[in-house]
Structure formats: structure tokens, C-alpha cells
């Protein structure tokens, strides 16, 4: 039998290093559309500016973010996107899906989004990646996706490291925040 009077009851010992440890965010990037990687890049650059540690696990189509053969030509598909904004600013009419399926419409949608981003002074994909790397954001290329999609190690940007789910979960287990995008 233990006496509660001898020692104050605490759930855990205070961590002497707690004050110095930066917050950590673990992101899973599973999509590779230009419109789909922007939320990841915005969250990552912001977290880096808040002086957090950030690691992004690029898996399935998200691998395109770190694949040098594809990362500079990410696209937006207008097809089947009920939320696609009208092509002309201030006009209310959308584009019917049957037009979106015509050849070249993905290029049109991509150029349109790039134009909107530029008009709003939002950095392009390459500039956002640069900001991520400057901020110390770590990119992890999913090894399984590389195997499935036949992506070679030399196709992955040199700043990214190749690892599997176990290694990423090991990093994510100590994260204060984890998001799957």
C-alpha cells in the first residue's frame, strides 16, 4: 500500500526540454493536381514560418511533387469539378462537363489557374517549393509508390529522401499535428 501523502501525485514527469522542442507537423500529400498541391505548400510554408518542423510524405499521385520529371508540369483538370469557377472573372456561367472533356481543356484550365495565382501575387509551384526548402521542410518520397509507378531514385529531387510508411509514421508519431491532403 502506498501513501499518497509522501509524494504529490503527477501524471507525468515534466520534460526539461519541452520549452526548446519545436512543434512538428506531419503532412501526407496524396494528390498531384496543381490545385491539390497548393494547400499542402501553403500549410508547409506557413508552418515553417511559425518555426515548426515539417515533414511531407509524398505518396501515390502526391509523389509528382518531388518527381523531377513531372513536378514542373503539374496540371488542373476541369473535368467533373462541380466547384470549377467560371472561366471569366465576374461572370456567372460555368463550363459544361462535355466541353471540359475536349482535348486541350486540361491545359486551358491549368493556364487559367496559373494566371489567377499570378494575378493574386501567389508564388508559382517552383517558388513555393523553394520557400519550403528554405524553411527546412523535409520531403519524403513514398518508396512503395516509386515501385508501383516505376519512378526511379534519380527522378526524385535530391532534397527528398525515399522511405516507407513505417519511417514516416515514426516521424508522425511525435507530431503535434498531422494532416492528410
Amino acid at each position: 500500500m502506498t501513501s499518497l501523502g509522501e509524494k504529490p501525485f503527477t501524471l507525468e514527469e515534466p520534460d526539461p526540454d519541452a520549452g526548446d522542442k519545436p512543434k512538428r507537423m506531419a503532412l501526407v500529400a496524396s494528390k498531384g493536381g496543381l490545385d491539390e498541391v497548393y494547400p499542402i505548400l501553403i500549410m508547409a510554408t506557413t508552418a515553417a514560418a511559425l518555426e515548426w518542423e515539417v515533414g511531407i510524405f509524398c505518396t501515390f499521385y502526391g509523389l509528382d511533387m518531388v518527381n523531377t520529371k513531372r513536378m514542373h508540369s503539374l496540371k488542373v483538370s476541369p473535368l467533373g469539378n462541380a466547384a470549377a469557377p467560371p472561366p471569366l472573372k465576374g461572370k456567372e456561367f460555368g463550363v459544361p462537363n462535355f466541353i471540359s472533356m475536349l482535348p486541350g481543356m486540361t491545359t486551358v484550365a491549368t493556364k487559367m489557374m496559373q494566371g489567377w495565382m499570378k494575378d493574386s501575387n501567389i508564388p508559382d509551384f517552383d517558388e513555393m517549393m523553394e520557400l519550403c526548402l528554405e524553411g527546412g521542410v523535409e520531403f519524403y518520397a513514398c518508396a512503395t509508390t516509386m515501385g508501383v509507378m516505376n519512378v526511379k531514385q534519380e527522378d526524385i529531387m535530391p532534397q527528398a529522401s525515399c522511405l516507407g510508411a513505417a519511417a514516416f509514421l515514426d516521424f508522425a508519431a511525435d507530431a503535434d499535428l498531422a494532416l492528410f491532403i
Binding site: 501553403i42 514560418a49 511559425l50 501567389i122
Partner: protein
């Protein structure tokens, strides 16, 4: 409102995340104890910059809003 600042950062016309990213870079260029003044037009800037100061520990000394302009003064603390 005038507060003496050592550096002025113009983020007018810029949207999230750029004002936060630029402020984060700019604060590293001044000495500890010096003051960075930042001006933005993004309506998301006030809550964002308050959060940035809370998370990084740099001091938000003062902020003003008017005529679609948001002004912040940060003291570098570390």
C-alpha cells in the same frame, strides 16, 4: 500611431502565406530587441500575424487597421 521601427516590410497586395513567410525572414535580419514594422492589405493578416507572434515568441507590440491597411510592429525577442 507611430512607433519607431528599425525595418519596414511592405506586404501590400500579398495573400497568405506570403506575409507570414516574409515577416519570418525579415525578423531574422534585424537584431534582438529591434522592431520590424510590417504593412499588409490581406484581411486575413491580423489573425495570422497574431498567431505568428504567439507561435514564434516574437512580440507583437502594436497593430493598427484602417483604409484597408493593416500595420504591425514586432520586436525580435530571440
Amino acid at each position: 500611431m507611430t512607433i519607431a521601427s528599425d525595418e519596414l516590410l511592405d506586404c501590400t497586395g500579398l495573400l497568405c502565406p506570403i506575409p507570414v513567410v516574409k515577416t519570418s525572414k525579415a525578423i531574422k535580419t534585424i537584431d534582438i530587441g529591434q522592431v520590424l514594422e510590417m504593412v499588409a492589405t490581406d484581411p486575413g493578416a491580423p489573425p495570422d500575424m497574431e498567431a505568428w507572434a504567439r507561435q514564434t515568441g516574437h512580440e507583437l507590440i502594436e497593430q493598427t487597421a484602417g483604409d484597408g491597411e493593416y500595420r504591425f510592429w514586432f520586436r525580435r525577442t530571440k
